[in-house]
Amino acid sequence: MITKDVKLINQELDFPINTGRKTFKFLSQFRELWRFRELAIELFWTYLKLRYVGSVLGFIWTMLNPILYIVTYWIVFTCIVRMGLPDYPLYLIPGFLAWNFTFASLISASESILNSQYLITKISFPIEILTLASIAVNLFDFFVALILYLMAVVILPPTLPITALALPLVVMLQVLLTLGMALLAACVSVFFRDIPKLIPVLGTMVFFLTPIFYPLNIVPEPFQFLIKLNPMTHVITLYHDILYYRIWPDYLTLGSVFLIAIIFLIIGYWVFDRKRHTLAELC
């Protein structure tokens, strides 16, 4: 079977190879991500399909889940505890859906790498795609719910305010913020397996400390400062501004959310990129 003469045996290499990776490492990583863009899309569909394999209601769960939660909060805060806000569902729903997107994204991101150990140790691909695809699934849920909400508002009496035009911008800001936090969560979860268990509990705690089902101004003055430290407070405030109070978002809030989001994104991606090979070795 040996067809060719082997001419090169025991070659000596006496020069270091210029791999050219150090200087443009970040750039080459983005090029790599772009090369695998179809994998991201395909994984997104796969996750979507696999989520409800074997469940009777299937896709309906996507809508049923937030609806059930919202109805619960609605009943509690209009019949049992009076919040004193007119058209309370209009206040509650957007904030709740937005919170739910970030919360669910963080949970699934923290499990995204750990659940795919067999993939990242056997196939070479940019592993942040796993995290991105799991966030995309949650974003899809968010969009479905948001569109249903908007449709309901258009049909029912208090029509959609013009300020709702700012919604895409606000959603974009929130996605940026969530991306950064999720990348960080995904990476750190591999080092400390406690994080995936901690996030649901911590998230529920932060949920009650974020003005989602109550307005910020009912919080006693000294504690308002603490609540404002949470970046999600400002994101939710933006949703309330444009969809409930019908005012345009102020530039200061927009700008600060954008700044925080970018900082999170840079830190998250930087940490992830530095540790990407360690993730495969630890898993």
Partner: protein, 251 residues
């Protein structure tokens, strides 16, 4: 002389294991204390290697000599502790394990699509060779059946079929062909032969020296993380077999 396909310069990989605190609490409590005990060892040490386009290289060695680690380094799954490597081949495909990237709840068709993009290949190219893949794997009847109902042989065939039909110019195969039956192995080696005659670089890892003898023209013997012998198949295998005869239990 052919152009280079892959080159490694002083490639080393050190694994390190220390008594890690697996929980956040213990880590925080003992944050400033150094880990109690650290074990370090080189899985690969100073590997110098040049592989040219069109060469068929076999890698042999005992368990734990660093074969798979070498493959994981050059495919970019691990990063080297020191040294550097560069791959000049544009389309490298690695089969570290057959059936990785398959989801049991997806159908065969969906899995082919997903596995194709897992290799970073554009989906538009799949259309041309989809039928060939199905034909080679012999799963035509089961295309719309979820993969969990496939036999392990079928999954192995599908995995190999996808990578070998993806028009690679560097194909890395790790021990995976041992899974299938004799007929399947024959089919695979025929396909590999066909690929190699088209100028594909092949890196084949195997315990089985007869496989290496059949397919490869050059063989590398790894032992204890270093290259023990690098030469024609006959040279390397005779050296390897000699040692193994003397110390059959790897002593």
């Amino acid at each position: 002389m052919n152009r280079l396909s892959l080159e490694c310069y002083k490639l080393s990989k050190k694994f390190r294991w220390y008594e890690r605190h697996f929980s956040l609490k213990r880590t925080l409590a003992n944050f400033w204390e150094p880990p109690k005990q650290v074990w370090e060892w080189f899985v690969l040490k100073d590997i110098n290697l040049k592989i040219h386009q069109g060469e068929r290289v076999g890698i042999i060695g005992r368990n734990g000599c660093g074969k798979t680690t070498l493959l994981k380094l050059i495919t970019g799954i691990y990063s080297p502790t020191s040294g550097s490597y560069k791959i000049y081949s544009e389309r490298r495909l690695a089969l570290i394990e057959l059936g990785v990237g398959f989801y049991p709840d997806l159908t065969g068709r969906e899995n082919i699509k997903l596995n194709w993009v897992f290799n970073g290949l554009p989906r538009s190219e799949l259309k041309q060779c989809f039928d060939d893949i199905v034909e080679f794997a012999g799963v035509k009847k089961f295309l719309d059946t979820p993969l969990k109902y496939y036999s392990s042989g079928m999954i192995a065939r599908l995995g190999f079929a996808i990578s070998s039909h993806a028009d690679p110019d560097l194909l890395i195969v790790d021990e995976v062909l041992a899974v299938g039956d004799a007929e399947f192995q024959k089919k695979c080696y025929k396909k590999i032969d066909q690929l190699c005659s088209n100028g594909v670089t092949l890196i084949l890892v195997s315990h089985n020296t007869t496989d290496i003898e059949q397919v490869c023209e050059r063989a590398i013997w790894l032992e204890g993380g270093t290259i023990q012998c690098d030469g024609t198949v006959r040279q390397t295998l005779s050296a390897y077999n000699n040692i193994n005869k003397k110390t059959p239990n790897g002593g």
